[in-house]
């Protein structure tokens, strides 16, 4: 048996011990309910039935996630406070909340202290970017020094990065309406916005597994792929001015976008984590496997984590592709058109379906699957980026 018993008992899922709600759980449920009702009262005139349903569904999901994964509550509260701070500052400068155009908005962002340095979308995203880099470096430093303390700092930085990233997205959502009421949309509509979403979701999914597996030693590997995404984001911002808020093309004006895109990015994020765990696995495997004095977790744990990530990614990617098909049936006249993006989504799906069959039914374990997970990320990256760059089709919202 390779995992020490005490470690296993520590990480026992709550189901086994029974699932009882405590006072703080009720407080959490009440907070989610209250926030949802407030959001509905505030913005219901902008929402149709589907969007109200999405709000309700998000509240359910958020509530359940917080009950199941406690640290997520503190995270939500911090994001809530930061996002409300942004709303408050914008509300102070623009009491009516009416659209004032990009130049006037940027003037306000330039003169308000909180907005300028913390909570306007651009500042928050810059904070996220810096924190992702710091977190990556700190995780590797912690790994090198075998210091749990340093790793905790790294984890704190990662949490902060995710908090600023999410705040940036929420602030950007509000800003789009302040620039022009017609421009207003959830910021998951182009390559720039989904890169932020990718960074936030991947960080959160990793932090979840970090807690569940009680191992912070993989942080550097996972944060490395997020740091790469951030580097692209920064180039995209400063090289191409992609951060400017643009209105939506008619095809994207749909409530489907609110669910299709995030579901997709849970998938992409989880696949990215699996690949980076695969890298860690291969490195350890190259260095001779498990030893008494290891920095990295046991191979069996890495293997298990790799499977968990791919399973999560596969489940969400399945949902995302089905949602995409349903949206396509409404926007493009058919649920499946063999459009390059659709086809590549299918290729990604088939690839991981094959991976899962080999592991679950054939019982494959080890380096082969780790290699496959790494190659899987290359295929996924092509579906995510390559299709937009090299192939033409209906799905060309994020061109470079």
């Amino acid at each position: 048996m390779s995992v020490p018993h005490d470690q296993m008992i520590d990480t026992l899922p709550p189901v086994a011990a029974g699932f009882k709600l405590r006072g703080v759980d009720y407080a959490w449920i009440a907070t989610v309910l209250l926030t949802t009702v407030m959001a509905w009262l505030q913005y219901r005139t902008h929402m149709d039935g589907y969007e109200a349903a999405i709000l309700a569904g998000s509240a359910l999901g958020l509530g359940a996630l917080g009950l199941w994964w406690k640290p997520f509550r503190s995270y939500s509260l911090v994001v809530g406070v930061l996002a409300l701070a942004a709303l408050w500052r914008y509300g102070t400068h623009i009491p009516g909340g009416e659209a004032i155009g990009a130049p006037a908005l940027s003037a306000i962002q330039g003169k308000d202290f909180l907005l300028k340095y913390f909570v306007s979308s651009q500042s928050a995203i810059m904070w996220m970017s810096a924190l992702v880099y710091f977190s990556t470096a700190t995780y590797f430093f912690g790994l090198l020094r075998r210091s749990d303390y340093i790793n905790r700092v790294a984890a704190f930085l990662a949490w902060s990065a995710a908090a600023f990233g999410m705040t940036g997205l929420l602030a950007r959502w509000r800003e789009s309406y302040l620039i022009n009421a017609d421009y207003g949309h959830i910021p998951v509509s182009n390559l720039y916005e989904v890169f932020i979403l990718f960074a936030v979701l991947t960080t959160l999914i990793y932090l979840f597994y970090e807690g569940r597996y009680r191992s912070r030693n993989l942080g550097g590997f996972v944060m490395l792929v997020i740091a790469a995404a951030i580097s692209f984001l920064l180039w995209y911002t400063f090289g191409r001015g992609a951060h400017e808020i643009q209105p939506l093309v008619p095809a994207l004006q749909s409530w489907w976008m609110k669910i299709h895109v995030p579901a997709n990015f849970v998938g992409y994020g989880a696949f990215a984590i699996a690949a980076m765990v695969g890298v860690a696995y291969l490195i350890k495997h190259q260095l001779g496997g498990d030893g008494p004095n290891d920095r990295l977790p046991k191979l069996e744990l890495l293997d298990d984590l790799m499977y968990k990530s791919i399973a999560l990614g596969f489940a969400f990617f399945t949902i995302a592709t089905i949602l995409g098909a349903m949206w396509a049936a409404e926007a493009w006249g058919g649920y499946w058109s063999w459009d390059p993006k659709e086809t590549w989504a299918l290729i990604v799906w088939l690839n991981y379906a094959a991976w899962l069959h080999m592991r679950l039914t054939k019982g494959w374990r080890g380096a082969g699957l780790a290699w496959w997970a790494v190659i899987g990320l290359l295929i996924t990256s092509f579906a995510f980026l390559g299709v937009n760059m090299f192939l033409s089709g209906l799905h060309s919202y994020g061109t470079l």
Binding site: M1, V3, P250, I322, E330, A331, L346, I347
Partner: protein, 675 residues
Amino acid sequence: MSNATAARPLPQRSLSARLFEWLGSMSLAVTLLIALALASVIGTVLQQNQPYNAYLAKFGPFWFEVFRVLGLYDVYGAAWFIVILVFLVTSTSICVWRNAPRMLRDMRELRTGVQENSLRNFRHHAQWTSATDARALAPTLAARMSQFGYRTRMETRDEHTVIAARKGGLNRLGYIFTHVGIVVICLGGLLDSKLYLQWREATGALKVETRDISASEVPPESRLPPGNPSFRGNVNVSEGGQSKVLFLNVRDGYVVQELPFSIELKDFRIEHYDNGQPKSFESDLLIHDPEHLNEPLAKTIAVNHPLIYRGFAIYQANFGDGGSKIPLRAWQLIGEVGKSQEIEGAVFKSLGFGLMGQKYTIEISDFRLFNINPMEGKDGQIEQKNFGPSVVFRLRDEAGQAREYENYLAPVPMNGHSYFLSGMRERIGQPMRFLYIPADRDGRIEGFMGFLARLHDREKITAIVEELMQEMRGATPDVADKLDTTARDAIVNVVDQFLAGGFDAIGRDIEARVPEAQRQAAMDTTFRVLQSILGRLYIQLHNERGWGDPTEDDARFLEDAVNAINGLSLYGSPLYLQMTGFTQIQASGLQITRSPGKDVVYFGSLLLTLGVFMMFYIHHRRQWVLLKPGKEGTLVLLAGTDSRRSLDFEREFEALRNRMNETLSNSPTAPSSPA
């Protein structure tokens, strides 16, 4: 998908049994998944369903034919691709067929008939001896297991008591859902495929039309009846027009699909954002269906908001011009230059005319209401600017050669002056080169055309040259003597050269005639003389029009006009078509589909989603406790298994073992942890 049979000994079996085995094997399934993925790549790299001519031009005759035979221009409809899909569906179905009974049994069954030895062989097992009697102990231990979410069944046989425990049976159902879901999705897809069309074509009842003719001219053998159960096609309807058919693209041609009702387009609208980007496309439709509707059904469709009528889904897919009326004034640029004539133009209309013994055709192809272009503003910032309406047409000569032009209705202001823009390109895909015709003081094109006409007027030119020579005689009599009629003709010739080929033609002529040493001087003199003529000509025009004293603007106009005339030599058209107005008629591009399999596909998707989550997040686990009286007390043996090896189960087993430890209070005799 199954490895259950792998270990079974292979007695002599029939070929069909072995085929069945192979079709349902895991290796085949995974191979098919990968094969499908690789095949799918082809269609994303090679653009599908393009005109065959485009492929021919790209690959050349040999590879064009190879790729055509391989079906690469419509990979997802190619026979071999369908074969892969059919194999995948068959393989999946066989897997489900073979495994479902066992899985369903797993879900219900709580087998108590287990042997002590087999339990000891489990990877996860533990044992204790307890002083407590087995009958008293059993319910307590069963309760412990229930706390971990297990369903239990107890049975006492002879001396032995066995507690069988199971949880997560839905995991097995998840397997069935997932795989049945895939099969259902594929069957739904089959319902929505072009089966009917292909069957008609295979039986010779349908012929693909490749000619560019109007829908009403398409013969009956290229038409499909309204009864076609599934199709996806397009049709453009002009504002005020109706359509009772649509077009289905088939390879390098099309067939006409008839509809059981007709669609009228009342109005088509595009709204724009303040930055010029389109914000919405909307069509007001009227469905005429006397058999089913007392009065026509009015409905507005937009992107993301289709109309579903009698199982036909009507989508806003595209838009274009529906034959806008465009009055034109054709200015002659050769022959009687400056003469003009009114023409009634319309988009999609061809106009033939003859000029100077040549025949030409004008094919008006498009009208654009807005032309948003980036332009440098006053402060050097790039701004989006609307250049206003334009007309696009091709001018085809007798040889069939065509150039494309785009002319703007209104003069476009640039740096304080206004120009009539006319873009020209010789080939599709080339960038447009623009001719900038300066607007005159009144903002009209007449000034320029008048100037151009004068330049072509031999009498006027001769008079000016005469006048020029007189002045020179007065200034330098000795030079003047040398100027004779030959010189005068030479000067007139310079003007002709300029008109025919611009400054370049004059330059080339001098290079050909004058030795290199004197070339620069000759050039200077010639251009000075030409400039002087052009200037005088303009003053004449200016005075004739009564525009008062010449200003800076006149100097600029002259310069622009001369540049424009210089550019005319490359313009390639004997006419300048001035747009004088427009009546826009738009067309809406509708996509109409009938997909009876959609709900089947959605049902399959639901099964797939549920199945995937059940498989990943519900764990099918079985545990047994065997209680047996022994010499030192009751022997308690715990053993368990997960349908798949996972760390989670090991953790749970540890926790269960520890709980049992507490319950049994005795320390385990041989707590063999999971081997």
